[in-house]
């Protein structure tokens, strides 16, 4: 943490290299950020957009990618009335530039040196920082057992479906459980429904294993999941959370 604390966070110019749709309402932006100092999985960046008359707007976004030179990937969900997200998801094209600084956040991060099993629980775009952890695990050849429970509205809005399928096949020790809350794919064995205690028990880790738990998503989702984990015996300090959006 000290390395992070002592480094001044300066604004850098990011250039969009590539954009990819991520489900129906989101987009991954591949950015080139010269002199990027690297980041740990789970950290985020601040993005600053500047209009021609000097008006600026800032927002924070989780980093989706593993550290890889000057390349940083963000996956951004378009919010209704989202001043910055509507630009990033709807307007930005390769070659466009904006400012970015980071990495920010030293708490909601996975340390590849930590041998504890890991439970990742993501709701909607809350998958993004967890995906960075999954990617780092693979990039480092880590054998730490990972279980991801990903709650998404329906198959159309799911992030990284192809990559998750491939990783379940190729990344040994990674289990992925999908929970669809509104609509399921054809032939799916369960009706749509919210993530519940039973799924957390079946698809997660027993509290005795003392896993590191990372929960990220909308406030209501994180409240429910974190409370269920604590009720199931997980120590509160082993449950790290990142919430976004309004409460109820």
């Amino acid at each position: 943490m000290t390395d992070l604390a002592l480094r001044r966070l300066t604004w850098r110019v990011a250039t969009v290299l590539e954009v990819r749709p991520e489900g129906a309402e989101a987009r991954t932006l591949v950015l080139d950020v010269p002199d990027w100092p690297g980041h740990r999985p789970g950290q985020h960046v601040d993005v600053r957009l500047t209009a021609e008359d000097g008006y600026t707007a800032q927002r924070s976004y989780s980093i989706a990618s593993a550290a890889d030179g000057s390349t940083v990937e963000l996956t951004v969900q378009a919010l209704a009335d989202g001043e910055v997200s509507s630009y990033l998801v709807g307007i930005a094209e390769p070659g466009d530039r904006f400012e970015l600084r980071g990495p920010v956040g030293g708490y909601f991060t996975w340390d590849p040196e930590d041998p504890s099993p890991v439970l990742l629980v993501g709701g909607g775009s809350g998958l993004v920082p967890l995906m960075s952890m999954i990617r780092v695990r693979a990039a480092e050849g880590s054998r730490v057992p990972f279980r991801l429970i990903y709650s998404t509205r329906d198959p159309q809005t799911a992030f990284y479906p192809g990559e998750l399928l491939r990783r379940v096949r190729d990344d040994h020790g990674l289990d992925v459980t999908l929970v669809y809350t509104r609509a399921v794919p054809e032939g799916w064995p369960r009706p749509p429904g919210r993530l519940d205690a039973r799924t957390l028990t079946e698809a997660g880790w027993p509290a005795d294993f003392a896993p590191s738990c990372f929960v990220c998503g909308p406030t209501g989702f994180v409240e429910v999941v974190a409370n269920l984990l604590v009720a199931a015996g997980h120590a509160p300090q082993r449950v790290k959370t990142e919430r976004f959006g309004p409460s109820r």
């Binding site: 001043e83 409240e223 959006g245």
Partner: protein, 198 residues
């Protein structure tokens, strides 16, 4: 600097009460690093400790018996949202500190759940800070720090420790949870002190 973003016009919903880099929200977002602790007011206690080892404590009923105030304040979260004109009820720290003798110039707030945050003691006095237990006329929700949270609205909201259980006054400044994790030691929204070096 000086990079214009093609195609970005912006919403320009500005307000003179909005610090730099912030945007207005009508919602009340939640930011916490872990599960929400549930604290029973029957066992709740608030303590102020000093550099001499002296300790002053208040039970919930003792806190409720103190004169309270109803500040209306603006909130500024380091994650960029601001919420203006929020209504609270709480006991001023001036009341709680009245009989506390300390040479300390610094304070660390401690919370149920283990969270800590630091600030100069001068930022907690002279009508600038409260132990707040009502929001918008209702008991403070656990998600927002109930039963009681510190409210120091002139600093970024991470300084307003949720689920507060005490203050430690000391001669030395001791960075708290976010302050040791890259966030600014003081956190003035009007100087946009978000991170170390800002």
């Amino acid at each position: 600097m000086g990079v214009f973003t093609r195609g970005f016009a912006g919403r320009r919903r500005t307000d003179e009460n909005l610090p730099p880099g912030q945007y207005l929200t009508e919602d009340f977002p939640v930011l916490s690093a872990g599960p929400t602790p549930r604290i029973d007011t029957g066992t709740w206690e608030f303590a102020i400790g000093t550099e001499t080892g002296a300790r002053h404590t208040w039970s919930w009923s003792q806190l409720m018996a103190l004169p309270s105030e109803e500040p209306t304040v603006d909130l500024h979260c380091v994650t960029k949202w601001s919420k203006l004109g929020t209504r609270w009820r709480g006991v001023s720290l001036d009341v709680l500190l009245e009989d506390v003798e300390s040479e300390g110039e610094f304070a660390v707030a401690h919370s149920y759940g283990g969270y800590t945050t630091n600030m100069p003691l001068a930022d907690l006095t002279d009508g600038q800070a409260w132990i707040a237990f009502e929001y918008d006329g209702e008991p403070l929700d656990p998600e927002h720090g109930g039963p009681a949270r510190l409210l120091v609205p002139h600093l970024y909201l991470w300084k307003s420790a949720k689920w507060v259980r005490g203050l430690t006054l000391s001669l030395d400044d001791e960075p708290g949870f976010w302050e040791t994790a890259g966030y600014h030691n003081y956190g003035d929204p009007w100087r946009e002190q978000r991170y170390w070096g800002d």
